[in-house]
Symmetry: C2
Subunit: 340 residues, 2 copies
DNA sequence: TTGTAGGCGTTATCAT
DNA sequence: ATGATAACGCCTACAA
């Protein structure tokens, strides 16, 4: 027989005091007798009393829950971001309501909808690739739910967002290569409809141009992230009459495929051709040929900052100026791998 | 000026009807006038009315929220499990409250505590490595919150659990190797305090014994999962006077390190020595030398089944017989990689 | 078909 | 120092 779930009412009944007294005792209210207080606390402990957060949030209109919507937790970037988010949230006594969009707009809408229903105190979201319209997120404002975008953010400057400037990062990466004397730089980009791909390309072009060199578009390939797609891109790059001395890949997964292809074709990886990438994922540490440099996107840090800002937004009265965060800290940093 | 958050009361006021009428209209109650109903629905839409799940759950003592506690989302096994969990949950209109223990018992307690506060309808948990005592989970029963353990489950047969029988899987893997004529089988296990490591070892010993061969413990090494630890294990195995013809590693990450070491030492991977592993993670598909076979642990399927069972537990009156699930489906399957 | 009233667990505001 | 009461948003008997 499972004891009935203990409530303040039940405790009050057993102790022959009023509910208010119990509430005060439980909440360290100043105006309460020491004697009564300890009696209440004792019984509460004995009954395993646990405050009903639902009732409290219902009354106080605060749920102590933060919604987090991301495309796909399987991507290491997001799983690391979540850890940063969760850590900060827990410190502030917030719990995480979690949902994935799987890069599907309809699913994203559904998830956001259920977060609205649950009346999360705030929402962190990294947009699905399909998302171009924000009506489903705008309605959250009607419910006074602040929204903070991170990583995959809208272009609008009227929203709160935390992200990483990949264009700038790419420019720096190119500069770094030029300084090493490397001027033929291949680039395996992602599908051009992705913002992330367009940013990288802009950086690539800008980076090369700054060194007064004409951009050779033969050096720019695309992959759809499939093994075959990357193989094709590699084939094209390697068969150029003037092949690249370095290859930058869209991310570390593409890097792995590119390197595997290179190995199978007896290319002396990171000797004959330097490989560079984005993401700096942990898996590359287990491989024989990690990228010689990788753009660090600071997932945990981005998550941490995003959460801190969101909590601030929750606590402050509506701030009208959008909070756009994209400074040194979370911008790119090249991590140079040392594996001669 | 953000419009005040619309409630049934507000709608009732504006329409000069009672709250109950509004409620009935919104919930498709049969006893309601068609005319009234459409008026209500129309205004509700206009005001962007969204039912307050908090109030509903407060009243109905159901939150439509499932708690999920896992050690670390960065592990691909768990991130895939989550996707299975989320998909089923969404189908049944449940949302996920998420927390990681980071294999720390105190953190696990804290997370479970907050889930209790939030009155989740049920809890899915994969235990932290440190967890040997279940008091913090037992108290959930007092709140009629069913708990379902998955993957990292307690040994007790008095709990509901879904897991994968790795001992059995290992026996099958050994059998498979013997059938291929491979009898010297190296084994790089994890730290022996891990249940997962002990299970694997039992399977290893049992598998070899079944083939009437004496187990040679020189073939069994341990790694602490660090690169150096795995390198040491590999060194030991390769320096045996009668080195193994196959090496089974604890998981795919260890596999990657082992293969990297083999390559660096000019071992003809998967020719001279076969490599086998557990997990069948997606990263291995991007590498030049995936394991020739890997035990599939069906993370998404385990998550799916776990959630289905949990939802059943939520809906059924307290069922006293523990639900232990570990059948063919989610037990091991060897995935043979075809990369000659 | 619609309205009225009560209650879910908690806290805040009175009053005692 | 403690008790009584109202209120949060919603649902559901029961009454009309």
């Amino acid at each position: 027989m499972p004891d009935k779930i203990p409530t303040t009412k039940e405790i009050a009944r057993r102790l022959n005091v009023s509910q208010s007294t119990v509430s005060r005792a439980l909440n360290d209210h100043p105006r309460i007798g020491l004697r009564t207080k300890s009696r209440v606390l004792e019984l509460a402990k004995k009954l395993n009393y646990e405050p009903n957060a639902k009732a409290i949030s219902f009354k106080q209109k605060k749920t102590s829950v933060i919604g987090v919507v991301i495309p796909f937790i399987g991507e290491e970037f997001f799983s690391q971001a979540i850890s940063g988010i969760e850590t900060v949230a827990l410190e502030h006594n917030y719990t995480i309501l979690f949902g994935q969009s799987f890069d599907d707009l309809e699913r994203e809408k559904k998830v956001v909808e259920s977060m609205k229903k649950q009346r999360v105190d705030g929402l962190l979201i990294s947009l699905s690739k399909q998302t171009v319209n924000f009506d489903h997120l705008r309605t959250l404002e009607k419910f006074d739910i602040p929204v903070l975008y991170f990583d995959r953010v809208p272009a609008s400057d009227k929203v709160h967002k935390v992200y990483c400037d990949l264009e700038k990062a790419t420019i720096e990466m190119i500069g770094w290569l030029f300084d090493k004397g490397c001027k033929r730089i291949g680039f395996i980009n992602g599908p051009s409809q992705l913002t992330a791909a367009r940013e990288r390309l802009k950086g690539y072009i800008e980076g090369i141009s700054r060194r007064k060199i004409k951009v050779d578009m033969q050096l720019v390939e695309q992959t759809d992230f499939s093994r075959a797609g990357t193989d094709r891109a590699m084939t094209n790059l390697l068969s150029l009459k003037n092949p690249p001395a370095a290859i930058i890949t869209f991310n570390d997964y593409v890097h792995l495929d590119a390197v595997r292809f290179a190995q199978q074709n007896k290319i002396n990886t990171n000797k004959k051709i330097l490989f560079l990438s984005y993401g700096n994922l942990s898996i590359t540490a287990h491989t024989a040929f990690p990228p010689i440099a990788s753009v660090e996107q600071y997932p945990a840090l981005q998550g941490k900052r995003a959460t801190e800002i969101l909590i601030e937004l929750i606590h402050r009265p509506v701030s009208l100026t959008p909070y756009i965060f994209c400074n040194e800290e979370t911008t790119m940093k090249l991590v140079i791998h040392n594996n001669e």
